[in-house]
């Protein structure tokens, strides 16, 4: 279906349209490279297997963070260091900034991109749970059409997404919070730097105007299932309730019961279940004290 490329072609177009044209021609015969911090690790020692490259670095239209009315648009080539430092992201989506600051090392944050983190679709991807918790949507473009999908529909398995070979993830769209919004980000790993998460929790709570009643909540976890997941049962238990009447231990137990982690080198299933419960309780406590401080 797709044309075979000449071995060793290297494309570095300046416009999104040119990139889409190249993709429509070569599809999966070509490797898309953004920051390369995951890709070049995967292809370590077998770079020769890659037939041709599509390098997105020159496409300036993919490198911006901007606010349009009620939403923020983040270009797929925005780097982790940019997310970490952006004042707008700190203001509206604090735990996304915190998650970016916890990725890898300075060397990795200077190269790795939000789009790469999403498309790589690791169950442990640091930005994925916060993005889901903020109701992110992804814009996928091809030569033929463009579509916008919610984050939770995008991931279908470990390193698997709905992205087609001729499609490019171009933008991440986040609705600006209208309500008083509190967030908590917890990443458990073996060390501070360069740790692939053993477990991740991104908890975002929206409060009603009284700052007492929970209006909405997202409880998103990473490294506990084949994809980043939201524990929807928490919504039922929290929405409409007074925050101070919540039973944190019960909510922690629900998180523990609803996840399906595996044993791997970073931690056992049992450990992850225990920790999931505890970090949920910690996150609720943290949000509670932040809420009380705000008058």
């Amino acid at each position: 279906m797709y044309q075979r490329t000449v071995p060793g072609q290297y494309f570095a177009p300046h416009k999104i349209e040119e990139a889409l044209e190249i993709l429509s021609k070569y599809g999966k015969e070509i490797k898309i490279i953004a920051g390369g911090t995951d890709l070049l690790v995967q292809y370590y020692d077998r770079l020769y297997e890659v037939n041709s490259w599509l390098d997105l670095r020159n496409i300036s239209g993919l490198k911006n963070i901007r606010i349009n009315k009620n939403e923020m648009e983040i270009g797929a080539m925005v780097r982790h260091a940019q997310l970490e430092k952006s004042e707008d992201i700190k203001k509206y989506f604090l735990i996304l900034s915190q998650a970016a600051a916890d990725i890898g090392s300075p060397q990795i944050r200077n190269r790795g991109t939000i789009g790469g983190n999403i498309v790589n679709a690791s169950p442990a991807g640091d930005l994925l749970s916060p993005l889901m918790a903020y109701d992110a949507q992804f814009k996928l473009q091809s030569n033929q059409r463009e579509m916008i999908v919610p984050a939770e529909e995008f991931f279908i398995g470990p390193k698997k997404t709905i992205l087609k070979p001729d499609q490019l993830l171009t933008r991440i769209i986040l609705p600006l919070p209208k309500e008083m919004t509190y967030g908590c980000w917890i990443k458990i790993g073996k060390r501070k730097a360069l740790a692939i998460a053993t477990i991740i929790l991104a908890l975002v709570v929206k409060m009603a105007e009284d700052n007492k009643t929970v209006k909405d909540v997202r409880t998103c976890l990473g490294s506990v299932a084949p994809t980043p997941i939201e524990i929807k049962e928490i919504r039922k238990k929290m929405v409409g309730k007074y925050f101070e009447q919540l039973d944190f231990a019960e909510l922690g137990q629900i998180v523990e019961d609803k996840i399906s982690p595996i044993d791997d080198i970073r931690g056992t299933r049992e450990y992850r279940k225990d920790v999931a419960k505890n970090i949920m309780i910690n996150a609720l406590e943290e949000i509670d004290s932040a809420r009380r401080l705000y008058k």
């Binding site: 060793g8 570095a12 070049l40 370590y44 890659v50 890898g104 060397q107 200077n110 190269r111 360069l194």
Partner: protein, 167 residues
């Protein structure tokens, strides 16, 4: 494999190099340009031995394809100090004994340089974070922290302690 030409500025000199799409910047520096101060440790971006400064940012050169560096301005350890006069960070590393086997040193010095460029008076936590992408298996890091602190003192006394007063 197709060949392609790229142009980059390395340690202040413009270089034109023929390379392939699947050559890493690390290999281009070491094998083609014989700048062997940049080391390969893990090859997977975890150890920082291959650290260089590219377009003003700290990067792991094992995770950059050579064509991605087309047009880039790069500083390697060879571009820090010269035969007659070492950089204050290099001097501090020697004086505090922060160099043992030496394999991590080029990357460590570039990470320290970059840190001090952005933050002239880092505290202990900031120093740790600044060099968190660089592994050292000899020193236990304490002497490296000491070196960075010594460099901070030297640099701030050099500019008449001005930045200290400002802060």
């Amino acid at each position: 494999m197709n060949k392609l030409m790229i142009e980059l500025t390395i340690n202040g000199k413009k270089r034109k190099v023929e390379t392939t799409p699947s050559t890493r910047l690390l290999d281009l520096l070491r094998d083609d340009l014989h700048l062997t101060g940049t080391k390969e440790g893990c090859g997977k971006g975890e150890c920082g031995a291959c650290t260089v400064i590219m377009n003003g940012e700290l990067v792991a050169s094992c995770l950059v394809l050579a064509p991605q560096a087309d047009g880039a301005v790069i500083t390697t350890i060879e571009g820090i100090g010269d035969d007659k006069c070492l950089d204050p960070v290099q001097e501090a590393f020697i004086e505090t004994g922060a160099v043992q086997c030496g394999f991590c040193t080029p990357g460590m010095i570039l990470a320290a340089k970059k840190l001090l460029e952005e933050n002239s008076h880092p505290d202990e936590e900031e120093i740790k974070r600044g060099i968190s992408g660089n592994l050292c298996r000899c020193t236990g890091y304490q002497k490296i922290f000491d070196a960075v602190k010594l460099a901070v003192n030297r640099l701030s006394s050099r500019d008449g302690g001005r930045s200290e007063k400002d802060a």
